[in-house]
Every structure is written in C-alpha cells, then in structure tokens.
Amino acid sequence: MSESEKQVQESYLEYKGKYRGILGWLLSTDHKRIALLYLYAIIIFFFTAAVLGLLMTIEKANPGQDIMSAQTYNGLFTIHGVIMIFIIVIPGLAAVFGNFALPIMIGAKDVAFPRLNLFSWYLFITGAILGLLSQFMGDGPPDTGWTFYVPYSAESSTNVIFALTAAFILGFSSILTGLNFIVTIHRMRAPGMTWFKMPLFPWALYATAWIQLLATPIVGITLLMVIAERVMQIGFFDPALGGDPVLFQHLFWIYSHPAVYIMILPAMGVVTEIFPTFSQKPVFGYGAIAISSLAIAFVGYFVWGHHMFTAGISYWSRWFFSFLTFIVAVPSAIKVFNWISTMYGGSIDLKPPLLYAISFIFLFMIGGFTGLTLGSLAPNIQLHDTSFVVAHFHYIIFGGMGFAFLAAIHYWFPKIYGRMYNNRWANISWGFLFGGFNLLYFPQFIIGIQGMPRRYFDYLPQFQYGHMLSLIGAVILIAGLVMMTVNLIHARRKGAIAPANPWKGVTLEWQIPSPPPVENFEEIPTITRKPYFFGKND
C-alpha cells in the first residue's frame, strides 16, 4: 500500500498529519475535524447557557426575590440570550453538521477554502471568549438583553462594548462560513451532480449561506454604530443629538429577522434528510422543498418590521409587514406537508433520529402558528413583550432548531465516530426532553396571554402556577439533556462498532466508511441518479 493510498484509507479521527496530539486538531484544516471543534465548543456553551436559563426559572418560582437580585437577573437573561443566539443557534447546525456533512454529501474532499474554514473557527472562539469576558470585566455584566436596544444600550453603565464586539466578531465568523459554503456548493459538486440532483441538506445550507452573507454585515455596521455612540458620542440613535432610536430597531431586525431563518433553514434541511432515510422512500416534492428554502430566505428579508408593530411605525408599513409575515408561512407549510407525505406509505423505522425529527414538526408547528398570532396586528398589541413571545421563540429555536440539532447528532453520530449509541436510552432521554420541553414552555403561552411580561424577575401572584410548572419542566428537560449526553459519551467510548450505513441511507455520506477517511472518497463518485433513490419503483 503506497503512502497516498494509506492516507485515503485512514479514518480522519486517527490520522496523524504534520502536527500531533491536540495541535493536530487545533491546526487541522480538515472539515470534519473543524466540525467537531465547533461541536465541542457549542456543547460547552450550551450547557452553560442552559444552566443560566434554569437559574432564571428558579428565580421565578416564587414572586419576589428568591435567589438573585433584579440586576443579576437582567445580566443573566442578557448573557443567556447572547450565548444561545450568537454562539449556539446561529452557527450551530451550519458550522457543525454543515461542515461535517456538506462536502461529503456533494462528493467533495473538503470545503472550497479549508484554511478560511479554520480561521472562522478561531474568530468564533475569539468572539465567544469576548462574550464571556464581558461578564467579568468593566462595570458588571451587560444588562441590555441580547437585542441591545438603544437608547438603553448606549447609556447602560455596564460592560456593553465587550458584548457588542463579541457579537460583531461572531457575525464575521458566520459570514466567512457562509461564503465558504456558497463557493463550495457552486464549485465542488461531484461530476454529474446538477443542482437538482443535490441532496436537500446542502440546498438548505445554500439558502442559509446567502442570508449569512447578505444580512450579517448590516448588523455588523449597526453594532459598530452603537459602539461609536458609546465611545465617541456620534448620535445616530440618540434623539438629543438628532438621531433616531427606531432606526436602530430597523437596522437590527433587518439582520436579526433573517437570522431566524439562518437558524431554522439548516434544521429543516436536517429533517429533510432524516424522513426519507427512515421511511425508505424518496422525499416527496423534492423541487418544492428546494425552492421553498430559497423562498423562505428571500421573503425572510422583508418581514423585519413585525418586531416593531408597537414601536410607532406607520399604518401602511404595519399592514405590509403583517401581510408578508403571513406569506413567509407558506413555504414553511409546504415543507411540513412534504415531510408528512414522505412518511405516508413508507416503511417507517422509528429510530431516535426519526423520533426527534417528528417532534421537530410538532414543536415547530406550535411555534409557527403562535408566530402567526404574533404577526397579526391586533393580537400583537396585546401580546408584545409578554412571555407569550418568549414561549413562541423557544418553540421555534429550541423546539425547532434545537430538536433538529439533536436529531442530527443521533443521525450522523455513527458516521462521525464509527460507533453506535444505545437506542433504548436515546429513546428514554428523548421522552424526558420532549415532555420537559413542553412543560417548560407551554405554560408561558398561557400566562403570556394573561399578561405576564417578559424579562421581569418579579410578577403578580396569579402567575405563580405557570412559573412553577415551567420550573418542573426545566428540571425534567435538564435531566433529559444529561441522560442524552451521558449516553452519547458512553457510545463514543464503548459503543458497538457502527457499520458504514446503519440506517440504509442513500446519500453519499453513507456510501463511505464510518468514520470517514481523511480524504472522504477514494475516488470522486460520478452522480447519475436523483438523490433519494431507494432502488424501488417510484
């Protein structure tokens, strides 16, 4: 066996390159290793932020002050939001599973710019560390909420600049990842893989990457303007200096609403891979799913105003943004119908990944419908800034993106590590997660309608039953998370050796050994068929 052949055969986990040990990971430009670097960082931050969330729920178990002061509470929900949004949910699926699976699924050896890919990870870590430092440096943790609304973010005496800079750097990292993926998808598809022979996870990542590329710079410059306002008193957003605070909200949501689609599109892509595999049936409406990803990305640019219905924007723009908000629900619904039709008549194998994917649909639909409630003008006046909003976006972000992330872990775990986890424990921890999640967030809908405001650390006694239920749910949820993590860590160490294709999947990543060799393919495959061809008449 010649040297180059050996390199092709060897698994990427075992491969020893120029650097040994930990440096072999930290300086690796291999897309699979970078994906795992992201994964580990994200898991650590996720547990941190989840514990912060639990602390907030405990604080709210009784009216009045329980375990922390109001100022600490303000700091907690800010850092919880910053970590969850900027460090976990926005990069999450794209950076971890996009990096791992995208090149393999389109038949490439790596992404287009491997070194740039590693650089994005370092930017990501720098941003994340800056975010953490904001907690310990200067005049106390920032207390503005993750949205950094002016004028408060320009006036708060806490250490807002660090958090702003962190978000800016994380955004830059996200831009570079998006750029890398677009070029990869355009230039590196295997011979014969035309656009409409590409699997749907890459399609979703493609739509996501364009949003990352085109929306993130806007929030970048906006955050810079807030920094300029704090440091140099350039008053773009300060009425006393001629500026306009509502302008900040516009600029912020021009990015941050599309950012919601940065979160959810890859999640949709993941479950689109899972449904055909576990139904052993081609995906229903391939074209509709691919195009609806692009449609969501496109329409998603024009709905930012629905965050500002109560901020004093004109009658016609409210009408316009509300209408477009309803339009953007259409492509999402198309996808839901397609997933269900994919399962219809298939030979369904209810393994953990499919379980997570089905609960994704369930939770995403609750999140989506409550989103429409919020997008209608009249209910919005009542529900704005209540815990109804909190419940809504947790259903979308955690119930949607989060559960898709867990689905993706369980789906690709055997491919990533070449080991199998314990199915029974995976199912049990799913039960805890799903039950705990609903118990945690559903009561927030109800007390939200009854008038419980968001971001308040104290409340009227009549809301206590809701917060109590939430606390029980949160504990169950955390227990489920711990169980799942233990199961996966155990599988990583001692799990049974996984075959190359444990789920009988048909996309390219299942056609190579588990874990994949360093160069992915011995020979770049030539694609002749549509994806999701299960060898039956269809």
Binding site: A112, F113, L116, I175, L179, N180, I182, V183, H186, R187, L213, L214, A215, T216, P217, I218, G220, I221, T222, L224, M225, A228, M232, Q233, I234, G235, F236, L241, G242, G243, D244, L247, L251
Partner: protein
C-alpha cells in the same frame, strides 16, 4: 469567486451607513448642505484622482503578471501602495484640520451645532474612518502580494492572490467614488 462574495458583504456593510445617510439627509436636507460646505472639496478631489490612478496601476500590474513581467508588476504595485500612502497623508491633514476647528466626535463645538450638521459630521468621521481602515487593509494585501511575487509564489500561471488583492483594491476605490459626491459634493 470567494473574493466577489466577500466584496458583496463589504458593500452591505457600507450599505448600512449609506442607508443611515439617506434617512438623515432626507430629514435634515438643509443642515447637510451647510455642513458639506465645510469639507475641503479640493483635497477630496485630489484624493479621488489619486485613488482612481491607483486602481489603474493595480489593473496594469495584473496585466504585467499575466505576461510574466515580474519586475514591472512589482513596480506597479509599489506605485499603488505609494498612491495609497498619499491618500492617507491627505486624509490625515484633512482630519487634522477639522480637529483644529474642534470638530471631532463629542467635541463641544460639534455638540452645539444644528442637529443635522452634527449627524453629518458623525457620518463623515464614521464613513471616512471605516474607509481609511479598508485602505490600510488593502495596502497590507498589496504588500503581501509583492512579497509573494518576489518569492515566485505568484506567477503568470498562478496569480489568483494578485487578482484578489486587486479586486479588493478596486472595492476600496469604488466605495470612495460614492463617498466623495455624498460627503463633499452635496453642496
């Protein structure tokens, strides 16, 4: 292609500022008009010419490397960096002049000006400052390219780095082409 996409994001970055400019200009048309009178159109014009010429020299050096004329490519790039330096020096004097009149962000003179003029100068410093930062980055890129050419890493058959730094330089020029009329010529 990567560089083209990156240029997209840069345009959106400045696009955010242009948007803010458009909104405040519409709100305070008179003040913007007055404030722009204070800017030195002469230095602005000189800088525009300097940047345009530097874009030309970059384009010429790319042609030179395609033809394999290493020495000429390096000389043209050096000329570009020299022009960029002239731009920065001009900028320095221009800003310095403003500071002499106590026009800088947060200064008492500025704060007491009409709201629109205040915002105009805020935008002026933010936009030209961010642009100057890009000029610096562009200069570094060009310098790296020169080094790679002299090490024969960039050759007539392998010049994508050269092309990319050239593209980036054109972007810097391009943004200035918009900044110049918006800030200096709106009088």
């Amino acid at each position: 292609m990567g560089m083209w996409l990156f240029i997209f994001t840069e345009l959106f970055l400045f696009g955010g500022l242009f948007l803010v400019y458009a909104i405040f200009r519409a709100k305070y048309t008179e003040d913007f008009h007055e404030a722009a009178l204070e800017l030195n159109t002469f230095i602005g014009t000189v800088n525009t010419v300097v940047l345009l010429v530097s874009s030309m020299t970059v384009a010429m050096s790319i042609t030179a490397i395609q033809k394999g004329e290493k020495g000429r490519a390096i000389r043209l790039l050096l000329a570009t960096i020299f022009l960029a330096l002239i731009f920065m020096v001009n900028k320095y004097f221009e800003w310095g002049h403003k500071f002499e009149y106590h026009i800088y962000p947060g200064s008492p003179v500025l704060v007491n000006m009409p709201k629109g003029e205040l915002l105009f100068f805020g935008l002026y410093f933010m936009m030209t400052g961010l642009h100057a930062l890009h000029v610096l980055v562009g200069m570094v890129l060009l310098a790296v390219t020169i080094r790679q050419i002299s090490k024969n890493k960039v050759r007539s058959d392998h010049y994508s780095l050269h092309e990319n730094s050239g593209l980036y330089w054109h972007l810097v020029d391009f943004i200035w082409i918009f900044l110049f009329p918006l800030l200096y010529l709106v009088t």
